[in-house]
């Protein structure tokens, strides 16, 4: 068993340990989770180092390669009759996503420190979900990929349904059903790929030339199937309700990591296997993604609830990911992958802060808050940093990602008219202005001015755990923003094969 298997199944083992811990030891299992996920973070760093060790040799070859090259591979036969394998490995993009997930789950566990209601089951479900997420990022067998994908989606129902707030049952059901309907499309697509390509192995399938007619119908199937999870317009409606109802750690994980599975899957499976389909359908999805970006940001302006506000801003930012992918341009796709990472951290920060603020004020209604900066300066400043990252301030990670996407969009691709491409990119770019409007206005309302409610005078600032959570996330935002070359170096080699295939 290699390090990747350990990384994938460590959360699951933790979940089992937590479930077996006696109910009376409430703090014990929180510590188990915190130490376990902390260990996971360390192991992820080790894994990144190991990846770099073996990647260094292939750095130059990657640029012209047509096929993804895997590292730290583990491969065992599973269901022989169907050639299904337990086949896992990483490329640069997977490593970046693993780091993101590891950071988010560690901070997510810390952010759930004060949860009282059935904590044990909560943590167990959360960790099972994370196992699924890690699994998706490392599997290169489509069957295995799908299995992990579902494991990542389903626990969400109970996590929101049992521990959520507001109209949680409705939101949980809506989220689960929409995502499952998406998976239904995926399943049909995967079976079609298998019957045509004769394998589930993604790398082997990469050598198979799929007929044009098939690319034309399977590509949109996969794109929409993954797109539902990536909050693609008009299938994004589960996202605001889901995020608003979910408890803090779940929102963090869901907006931070799970929605990235959508973009990741589109790139990894759909665009990798069906480059011609991608070209054929490029324009359609580009337009949808533009609507995503613009609609999300305008919708966010209207929101009064902090969580809906962030959720719609997530829809807009996840739109950038899909937009970047749909441009089929190397720079933009690179930007989209950086955006996955950057938005993951940023939205994790947002939702953890909302959880902390809500835990104090007991309200998420923006107009009824005000002047909170005076009583909770740490949280206020953190919120502002997150906000600035989301409107793309240089030196924060959002800028790196979005500037790549826009530059790539303006460069365009050989198959679409440059003018249309530039017009759509310009539209998407302008949503940054709208983002500035809602972020600055919203934050000013909550944190600036005089304290509106006398009850707020007594509130306290962040505790040590909370400072640790926000500290880690803010550090990451700055780190990527100030040393973007590290991030770009990590993922660049893995993006080339996708582009070379077009």
């Amino acid at each position: 068993m290699g390090i990747l298997s350990i990384l994938v199944f460590l959360p699951f083992v933790l979940a089992v340990i937590v479930l077996l811990t006696p109910n009376s030891k409430a703090h014990l299992y929180k510590w188990i989770c915190a130490i376990g996920t902390g260990l996971h973070l360390v192991l992820t760093a080790v894994m990144t180092y190991m990846y770099y060790q073996s990647y260094a040799v292939d750095r130059l070859a990657a640029k012209t390669s047509l096929h993804t090259k895997l590292y730290l591979v583990e491969q065992w036969s599973w269901f022989k009759a169907y050639d299904i394998e337990y086949f896992i490995g990483v490329d640069g993009m997977s490593v970046a996503m693993m780091i993101l997930t590891s950071i988010i789950i560690f901070t997510g566990v810390l952010a759930s420190w004060n949860l009282e209601h059935r904590t044990k089951e909560f943590l167990a479900f959360l960790l099972v979900l994370v196992t699924g997420v890690f699994g998706v990022f490392v599997s290169f067998d489509l069957f295995l990929f799908f299995v992990f994908y579902e494991v990542a989606v389903l626990p969400m129902y109970l996590l929101i349904g049992v521990w959520g707030t507001g109209k949680k049952e409705y939101s949980a059901m809506k989220l689960t059903l929409m995502l499952m309907a998406g998976s239904a499309l995926l399943l049909a697509g995967i079976l079609a790929i298998y019957t045509e390509g004769g394998s589930f192995n993604l790398l082997e399938l990469g050598h198979h030339k799929f007929p044009m007619e098939m690319q034309n119908w399977v590509y949109p199937f996969l794109f929409l199937g993954f797109g539902v999870l990536g909050a693609l317009f008009p299938f994004h409606t589960w996202s605001p309700d889901g995020h608003a109802s979910a408890p803090t750690a779940v929102s963090m994980l869901h907006a931070g990591v799970l929605m990235k599975l959508g973009g990741y899957g589109i790139l990894r499976v759909a665009m990798y296997l069906f480059p011609e389909g991608a070209i054929q359908w490029g324009m359609t999805f580009l337009v949808l993604a533009t609507i995503n970006v613009v609609y999300g940001s305008f919708a966010a302006v209207k929101q009064k609830d902090l969580k809906y506000f962030t959720a719609y801003s997530s829809v807009s930012h996840c739109g950038f990911i899909i937009f970047g992918l749909a441009t089929l341009n190397f720079v933009a796709i690179k930007g989209a992958v950086i955006q996955m990472f950057s938005h993951g951290i940023m939205t994790g920060l947002f939702f953890s802060l909302i959880g902390m603020v809500y835990g104090r004020t007991k309200t998420r209604d923006i107009p009824s808050m005000g002047g909170l900066m005076k009583v909770m300066p740490w949280l206020g400043v953190s919120f502002y940093i997150g906000g600035l990252a989301s409107l793309g301030l240089p030196s924060l990670s959002g800028f790196v990602a979005e500037s790549h996407i826009f530059v790539g969009g303006f460069m365009g691709n050989p198959w679409t008219s440059k003018l249309t491409m530039q017009a759509l990119t310009a539209l998407a770019t302008m949503s940054i202005v709208v983002t500035a409007v809602y972020v600055l206005r919203g934050l000013a309302q909550v944190f600036q001015g005089e304290i509106t409610n006398p009850k707020f005078e007594l509130l306290t600032d962040a505790t040590v755990t909370e400072k640790l959570v926000t500290g880690i996330l803010i550090f990451t935002l700055f780190f990527v923003g100030i040393f973007p070359s590290l991030m770009i170096d990590l993922i660049e080699g893995s993006i080339w094969p996708f582009v070379n295939r077009f």
């Binding site: 022989k80 109970l158 499952m180 998976s183 399943l187 019957t195």
Partner: protein, 461 residues
Amino acid sequence: MLPEIIVIVTALTVLVLDLFVKDINKVQIALAGLLSALVSIIVLPIGGELLGGQFILSPTAFWFKIIFLLSALITISISYDSLMVKTSKIFLQSSSEFLVIMLLIICGMMYLVSSTSLISLYVSLELATIPLFALAAWHKKESKSAEAALKYLFSGALASSLLLLAFSFLYGTTGTMNLSEMAVAMTFSPLQIWAFILITMGVGFKMTMVPFHFWAADVYEGAPTALASFLSVASKAAGVAVLVIFYFHVFPDLVKSLNGFLAIIATMTMTLGNLVALTQKNIKRFMAFSSISQAGYILMGFMGVESMGLVSVLFYLIVYIFSNLVIFGVIMAVSSSTGKEEISDYKGLSISNPMLAFAMMLALFSLSGIPPLSGFLGKFFLFSVAAKQGFHWLVVVAALNSTVSLYYYLGIIKEMYINKADLSESILVSAPVKWTLSLCTVVVVALGVLPQVYDLILEGF
């Protein structure tokens, strides 16, 4: 023929002992008998024929017998309260006879899959069907039970006569009773196509295919729960067995050319089953419609070639038995102590009986096809059979149907996990039921991850 003899002897032993000994532990005897039958099937070699070629043990028969015996074993274990615990709210009067009849039905099913001619096939099918009417009417004084029995009787009789008609067509056009000779003599004459349609209809009753499903909900609701659980697995498997014999062995080429017809029945069955299940309040009726929709998925396996289709069907049946019986086990455990059968009665089960709720949740997820549980794997193989034949639209329909089914399965999980209960007194579950449920739940998970069982089935063909 040893396994069949063991089952008959067990049935007679229970019957005779019950006359003379008070309070015998008949469940133990029955389980011991079934278990030794199961062992003898596994130990004895496959192949060979008896009664002048009227009885053979083909790989297909081998696996179906295992399926029948497994479902009988589990059904009887989870019905422990109904059969043995006099204080239970679902206790059955003269339960020994109930058990004996059940064993005889299993015996009929085992003969069914081994028979090589129309006559023995029909006789054993009747042995596996007629006693069920008596079981359905077990609650003599309840009108619902009588209604269930009557409805079941009528639909069963109709199904039998349709089958008889089909058999006479087949005999008339081919001139032989022997199934393998008949397969060679097939000419695709209109009468034979009619025979195909009539057999599909006749089996359709047993397998609850739409539009021959209407009896299921009333029978499941009115009949004793022990019988409902038995009907949902063993009886359905018997229907599948008849279908396997005819579709794969007697007219494989005809089925190939009429694949579209099967696809339409499959679509109707799963869609209607699912849509009606959405509105059910009673958990037994709910399970009836859920099992109707499962029949639709099973039909997809008949579209392909035998090597792939049959193996997928068998694997799915095994998975389905375990998942479905876990749910019925929980249903019986709950109604045994509370006497309640509404879905809303499961409120707060996750607080009062966390293990029961967890087992139920896993089984429900398995039925709706969520990986990594075995139900997903089963469906995946069935879907891939249809995909291999180019029926991609059917895969989409089936996968979307799974999503719809998830909605109502989640409805039960919502009751158990999310909705708060008024009182949360934990239900006492008798030890045999508890152990069976735990074991079956482990199997439901294990079958989804371990490839060995599927490989084992595949090796046989």
